[in-house]
């Protein structure tokens, strides 16, 4: 039996669940330059391919290593050294996954199942960026390429087949979603910001990012209004012009420190008459409340206070949890599929399936030509068959020998994968379908 030197996929790292912020930030800081970190990992002798992922919630190293614990120990000490951690701390925080478990973990990360806010979309971009850096450093090879492209596909499946990323899970996004439910498109809509506060400014920022056109800032102290308006490139207004401004605005976000109602029902009613009943969306983030709840009873006025928004967020969070179960099933399925592919990368099964394929082709062709072969004499028929077989065997001899020779090197996987691809040993249709346009685009990024 021919066996190449056994390799393994290993993922070591720590995330927001296993490591406290203090440790994560020490690691993120010292690693700082991700390109250098990739190079350092690549420098470990047992490491064949490497990927380094660092976000505010996780630091992970994915590597294709030689069999044995030496490589894993080297990765551990890489993290130990970079984070300037004590061995105890490391033991507590670090997780090590191998082979299919490493693949599963990567898939979960890319699909945002392992994120602090499950379903948040940024992580996929961060994984893509990490992959890009690994490619740029020449640290990616056949395995990392395959694994990462598979991870992107898993993330896409999860995003399209489950509702994990739909529905806002933050108060300010909930406000944007509600505004869209009312106005459809936010283009050309005017926001009126009454008072100031972190949450109301965040909501205003999200609304602007989603297309809202103009922003007017009203504050008891004009200076503050001017400052805030500058920040949003909006228009500052005197506080006593609030009532007029209700006529122009489409979305009002209020968060003043006032003890009574700043916006009364009568004001809203009058404004609505002047604005010919155009929809008005009132968001009251202040505690105690700024806007008279009675204003929300008026037709074409939609009033939400902080509790309402929070309730929506909580509901959406529950939906995400339910959808996460579906997503986990997708991850399981894809992990299995990846492991299957991994197993085909052994040299022996590849040689066998290459021979099988050749035999199948010969059999098929002889079958097709049966009509004239039947007319031959027995001796000639035999000769033809021998000729065909020997041509094919000669053709296959050199590739198979190279493959066997290569099984002694680290580079065997590339060989095996190339052979499988060239001869379409994973099934013609399947191998095509396996690499979608996305994959091809991804491989273009590799330096030639």
């Amino acid at each position: 039996m021919i066996f190449h030197e056994k390799m393994q996929i290993v993922l070591v790292g720590m995330n927001h669940k296993t490591a406290p912020l203090a440790i994560r930030e020490r690691l993120a800081l010292s690693c700082g330059d991700a390109l250098r970190a990739v190079a350092d990992v690549r420098g470990i002798p047992q490491v064949n391919e490497a990927l380094y992922l660092s976000t505010c919630n996780r630091v992970e190293v994915l590597a294709h290593l030689k069999e044995g614990t030496a490589g894993i120990d080297a990765l551990r000490s890489f993290i130990l050294a970079h984070g300037n951690l004590s061995p105890d701390e490391l033991e507590e925080c670090l997780y090590v996954y191998r082979d299919d478990k490493a693949a599963r973990h990567l898939f979960r990360v890319a699909a945002s199942l392992d994120s602090m806010v499950m379903g948040e979309p940024q992580i996929l971009g961060q994984v893509k960026e990490a992959y890009r850096q690994s490619v740029r450093q020449g640290a990616s090879g056949i395995l990392i390429n395959k694994l990462l492209h598979h991870a992107f596909r898993v993330a896409k499946r999860v995003r399209t087949e489950t509702a994990i990323a739909s529905n806002a899970v933050s108060v300010s996004y909930a406000a944007v979603e509600l505004a869209k439910k009312i106005f459809g498109r936010l283009e050309g809509k005017t926001i009126l910001l009454v008072g100031a506060g972190e949450m109301s400014e965040l909501a205003a920022r999200h609304l602007l990012k989603n297309g809202a056109g103009k922003i007017v800032v009203v504050n008891r102290t004009l200076e503050n209004a001017v400052r805030l308006a500058e920040e949003f490139q909006g228009v500052p207004e005197e506080f006593d012009r609030l009532e007029e401004q209700l006529e122009e605005a489409d979305i009002v976000i209020s968060s003043t420190g006032a003890s009574g109602y700043v916006v009364t029902e009568a004001m809203v009613r009058a404004a609505l008459r002047r604005r010919k009943n155009r929809f008005l969306f009132l968001i009251d983030i202040a505690v105690p409340r700024d806007i008279d709840p009675a204003a929300g009873e008026i037709d074409n006025v939609y009033l939400y206070n902080i509790d309402h928004l929070q309730e929506i967020v909580d509901g959406n969070m529950k939906t995400r949890m339910r959808e996460a179960e579906k997503a986990e099933r997708i991850v399981e399925e894809e992990t299995l599929r990846f492991t299957e592919w991994l197993n085909t990368l052994e040299v022996v099964p590849t040689i066998r399936s290459l021979k099988d394929r050749a035999d199948a082709i010969i059999g098929g062709e002889i079958e097709k030509s049966l009509s004239w072969i039947r007319d031959l004499r027995d001796a000639d028929r035999e000769r033809v068959e021998i000729l065909v077989h020997s041509v094919v065997n000669k053709m296959l001899h050199d590739p198979l020998t190279s493959l066997k020779d290569a099984s002694q090197d680290d580079g065997v996987l590339a060989y095996v994968a190339a052979v499988r691809d060239l001869f379409r040993l994973d099934g013609a249709g399947k191998s095509r379908g396996h690499r979608g346009k996305k994959d091809e685009k991804g491989t273009k990024e590799e330096p030639s």
């Binding site: 439910k181 010919k276 929809f279 074409n300 959406n316």
Partner: protein, 272 residues
């Protein structure tokens, strides 16, 4: 004979499209809804061909008996929806319209294949003009009512302030309000033209353009409600809930004048 085949093809197309729209709600994929819209458009085109052919071979407008009228109504509702769909990009309405068209066509299929003859009294151009305009108007007013009902649902969901469950399938309030407004406006114009055409015909055949027959009374009542609605919208600036409610009420009266009247009153407007 091409006609029966075309009719069956259109009927089948409406069925497929209905299935597609309902599936799109379950699986939540835009692509399914988009495919359903194309299916609906294809069915609509075949349906158009069917009616044109029938007009050609029959030599009279394809809207004289009850079945033909129902077929035309399905056609007009579908056409109206397709126009609004391209304008507002709200495919959800299709999940209501496609089944409605399919239902109307199924009823139609019971009698459409019968003989294609017309009593003398219904010959001429005024009768098809009357039927085509009133039915087009009614189709649009029905669409307005549908959009109004969806508006009320979405409004309710937003006022209850719960996490969206089914409100996510509904279009934004503004789009629904716009569909409601435009459909009422155009529907009202077509409906009015249809009534006038009918009056001209009645003046020629019965000697009196208007005779306060029960059917005419209820039609007039519905028409007045639409006058009120258009007035409130354009002059007073009504928007949203009130307009939606009134468009639903007006359609109820209109439906009664269209079908209910025959059950409770005898009317001169009976040609069966």
């Amino acid at each position: 004979m091409m006609e029966p085949w075309l009719f069956k093809a259109a009927l089948f197309g409406y069925l497929l499209s209905t299935g597609g729209y309902l599936a799109s709600i379950v699986v939540r994929r835009v692509i399914v809804a988009r495919a359903s819209t194309w299916l609906l458009f294809a069915s609509f085109s075949i349906h158009t061909l069917f009616m044109a052919l029938r007009w050609w071979t029959g030599g009279h407008g394809p809207v004289v008996n009850v079945y033909e009228s129902l077929s035309f109504l399905a056609w007009a509702v579908t056409g109206g929806y397709l126009v609004f769909q391209t304008m507002t990009k709200t495919r959800v309405l299709g999940a209501f319209v496609a089944p409605l068209s399919f239902l109307l066509m199924t009823i139609t299929s019971a009698g459409i294949t019968g003989e294609n003859v017309v009593p003398d009294i219904l010959r001429g151009y005024w009768v098809p003009a009357h039927v085509i305009f009133t039915l087009t108007g009614e189709a649009l007013l029905a669409l307005a009512c549908l959009a109004g009902a969806m508006y009320l649902l979405q409004d309710r969901a937003l006022r209850n302030k719960k996490a969206f469950r089914f409100s996510r399938f509904l279009p934004p309030l503004r789009d629904l309000d716009r569909i409601n407004h435009l459909a009422v406006l155009w529907g009202f114009v077509a409906f009015t033209a249809g009534i006038l055409a009918g009056a001209v015909w009645a003046g020629a055949v019965w000697g009196r353009p208007w005779q306060w027959d029960p059917k005419q009374v209820f039609t007039f009542l519905a028409w007045m409600l639409y006058v009120l609605l258009v007035h409130q919208r354009l002059a007073i600036g009504w928007k949203g809930r009130k307009a939606a409610l009134l468009s639903i009420l007006a359609l109820a009266v209109l439906l009664f004048s269209l079908a209910g009247v025959h059950a409770f009153f005898t009317t001169v407007h009976d040609f069966s």
